[in-house]
């Protein structure tokens, strides 16, 4: 279990808790249960949690599967800087958000799930994990002529690639910087 990133699971758990809170809140409010205002609170808290948790953070190792359409929320979540980056803050936030929902039966399941998510985030924070946004890779504009290599600096006859690569960088610099052309392989004139 050494290399597991706990924040990944905490994220799934928190997202599920948010959805459960919303469901419980809707049932309690629509059914006008006793103390249904806790239900209204749960809907609001659930929506906040879902918005916060929807953009998945980047894994340290390997590639991360983005959730569908998460890049819009990533930009918003990124704006809060350390508040959303730091998992201690998230752990405390989730714990505090879960407390009022614990007073109503319909939302108590959401409370317990959110507390569990909070604990996992605390574990992730202790292990030094933090939320890094998944940035879209900047589109590399194909530069015209960028891949064309410099033409060879020495005139023919030229030795093959392996021989050309043999001299070290310093020698090459010395050879191409100044002075007359020095062929890396001695060239003899075949004329008798």
């Amino acid at each position: 279990m050494g290399q597991i990133e706990w924040a990944m699971w905490a994220n799934e758990q928190a997202l599920a808790s948010g959805l459960i809170l919303i469901t419980g809140g809707i049932v309690a409010t629509a059914g006008r249960f006793t103390q249904w205002y806790f239900g209204a609170y749960s809907i609001a808290a659930g929506v906040l949690i879902c918005l916060l948790e929807y953009p998945r953070g980047k894994r340290k190792k390997g590639s991360t599967m983005e959730r569908c359409g998460q890049k819009y929320l990533t930009t918003v979540v990124k704006l809060f800087g350390p508040l959303t980056r730091n998992y201690y803050v998230r752990a405390v936030l989730h714990f505090l958000l879960s407390v009022p929902a614990g007073f109503l039966l319909a939302t108590i399941l959401g409370t317990v799930c959110l507390v569990i998510a909070s604990v996992i985030y605390l574990l992730a924070a202790i292990r030094g994990e933090q939320w890094t946004p998944i940035e879209p890779k900047p589109k590399e504009r194909p530069q015209v002529g960028g891949t064309i290599k410099q033409p060879p600096t020495n005139p023919p006859p030229r030795p093959p690639v392996e021989a050309r690569k043999k001299p070290s960088v310093d020698e090459e610099e010395a050879a191409s910087a100044g002075g007359p052309q020095v062929n890396p392989i001695p060239v003899t004139d075949e004329v008798v």
Partner: protein
């Protein structure tokens, strides 16, 4: 053949439809019963229609909890597949989709659990409201039942001055219900595809919370909170007549006080069989753990791939199957699945393990794959093996022509198949139907070729020795390279052996053009049955399936491609 193909495509649909129809039938039947049944008339006065919703979803939950353990009872599935004749062909392949069915049933449990939980939220609230001071006549009378000595209660909530949460938590049913829901949510959040891929161990360990799930499920109904009128009371107390005369129940002999009793818990009856079966599975795994596994050869390949050749008493396999391996010195609880890469004809079995996580990295280190000094075979860590499980690729031999396509590490089941093919053709001298095998391997990293390239090289030489070079035609596609490699390849382009693999067959670069490939194969083999076998990502699977449909001729005597995607 057309019938065969229709059957094989429709079996999964039939299975899903039958599962769905049983669920719908159970739900509607139970719903109607609880809506109409006289014994629950008074219960319905308090609860309304949510009683029926809760009970109907409970029956569906019982049904699905019974089913959920069956697809993961792998030895049981192997037994069914091995012994029954009807389980060849399309039905056998259906057994290979056991994990898909397990997930389907899990979704069924989640949906029914949601309905059940929401219904019970309403029920608890309504029980509570029944004790309110302003509760109307019949409702109040029913809620007061149980206060006097000879009465049995109907409303489990006895007073207004309490909260529904407290009332829930003091009952066995309420607490176990909360525990069950939590267990289910924890299992589901740790089973998402992302978590399975990034940390298999988290998924594996958290999934074992199912033990808590089933124990709590068995005692969940023990509280007997859902109460109906007893049969004896129904005989004495006519509901239709007496329901409006609730003021006279205490006094009049016409309408004696109705008596109620709770329903017996029934979840355990549904789940007992599969739980016992699964317990047997784990016992078998434990017994197999005790069995001796002899490691005969350990080969460390480049790109952090370890090959382990082992022997075990009475081990019989087919190409395409997988085993579970445990290494007690790394972790005494974890079993990890690996596809077998040896052929059934060999006297040992082997797996190729790539370092992809904690456990596999630790395994490579333990076997000295990371550059440490060579170890003696007797000082190797002990391994335990469970299996083999899974469907086999034997169907490849039943087509005229077979096309096998693999990407990256998905080549492992085909390694086993190709070895088996070599044994079949070169030693038994005859193959029943198979006349040609096309093999495509699409790989990103040239380093991963090494161990498989040796296999292809030996196959290439031996087949040409036997004069059967035409049997196997393979193409390797390299999809990732850097500039140095490109220069190197360009320089050695005209040589007879491929510069990357050392094989006669040259490596191709970039992805294959499936249209051209399928067109060529269809042209070369008109009026043949061609089986297409694929192991790799979903997107390519869809492409290949489309190709199969596109290039199969409408003429029943023409060429037909039959697509088989296997989960390995």
């Amino acid at each position: 053949m057309m019938v065969y193909w229709i059957l094989s495509e429709s079996v999964p649909i039939m299975v899903v439809l039958s599962w769905l129809s049983v669920n719908v039938y159970l739900f509607i039947d139970t719903f109607c019963w609880y809506t109409k049944e006289e014994a629950y008339f008074y219960t319905r006065v308090i609860l309304g229609s949510t009683l029926a919703w809760a009970r109907a979803s409970a029956v569906c939950l019982n049904f699905n909890c019974m089913l959920i353990l069956l697809p993961v009872s792998r030895n049981f599935i192997s037994l069914v597949r091995g012994t029954s004749m009807c389980c060849r062909g399309p039905w056998g392949r259906q057994l290979d989709k056991n994990l898909k069915f397990h997930k389907l049933v899990a979704y069924g449990i989640a949906v029914n659990a949601a309905i059940h939980i929401v219904a019970h939220w309403f029920n608890m609230e309504r029980y509570h409201l029944g004790q309110a001071k302003d509760a109307g006549g019949l409702l109040a009378a029913l809620s007061k039942l149980g206060n006097a000595p000879n009465e049995s209660y109907l409303n489990p909530v006895r007073t207004w001055y309490t909260s529904t949460t407290t009332e829930l938590l003091i009952t066995v049913s309420g607490t176990t219900g909360l525990v069950i829901s939590l267990a289910l949510i924890l299992i589901m959040t740790s089973s998402s595809e992302f978590i399975r891929q990034s940390s298999y161990e988290l998924f594996w360990y958290t999934h074992h919370v199912f033990i808590v799930f089933f124990i709590s499920l068995a005692i969940h109904g023990g509280g007997r909170i859902v109460r109906g009128q007893t049969p004896e009371s129904l005989q004495l107390h006519n509901v239709t007549f007496c329901r409006d005369r609730y003021a006279e129940w205490q006094a009049a002999a016409l309408c004696p006080v109705p008596q109620f009793s709770g329903k017996e818990p029934s979840a355990w009856k549904w789940a007992l069989g599969p739980v016992v079966l699964y317990a047997c599975e784990r016992i078998i795994r434990f017994w197999r753990f005790q069995q001796k596994v002899v490691i005969t050869k350990v080969v460390s390949h480049p790109s952090a791939v370890l090959e382990l050749c082992m022997k075990k008493h009475d081990f019989k396999m087919a190409p395409g199957q997988y085993i579970f391996i445990q290494c007690p010195s790394i972790s005494s609880l974890e079993w990890h699945p690996f596809t077998l890469t040896s052929a059934p004809q060999e006297d040992f079995f082997s797996v190729h393990i790539r370092a992809a996580g904690d456990w596999t990295e630790a395994l490579l280190k333990a076997f000295g794959a990371e550059g440490q000094a060579r170890q003696e075979l007797c000082s190797m860590p002990r391994l335990a093996v469970d299996g083999p499980f899974g469907g086999s690729l034997m169907d490849v031999f039943h087509y005229h022509v077979s096309v096998c396509i693999a990407t990256g590490i998905g080549v492992t089941p085909f390694a086993s198949l190709l070895k088996s093919l070599w044994y079949e053709c070169c030693e038994s001298q005859s193959l029943p139907e198979l006349s040609k095998v096309y093999f495509y391997w699409i790989c990103r990293d040239a380093g991963a070729f090494e161990w498989f390239a040796d296999l292809l090289l030996s196959l290439e030489t031996r087949m040409s020795e036997q004069g059967k070079a035409h049997l196997l035609s393979y193409r390797i596609f390299l999809t990732g390279w850097d500039e140095n490699q490109a220069i190197h390849i360009a320089l050695h382009w005209d040589e007879s052996l491929d510069v990357i693999t050392g094989l006669k067959q040259k490596t191709f670069f970039g992805r294959p053009n499936w249209n051209d490939e399928f067109k060529q194969i269809a042209y070369d083999h008109p009026s043949s049955r061609i089986g297409v076998f694929f192991c790799g990502p979903k997107t390519m699977s869809k492409t290949l399936q489309k190709m199969c449909h596109l290039y199969s001729s409408a003429d029943p005597r023409g060429v037909h491609f039959y697509y088989n995607k296997e989960h390995f």
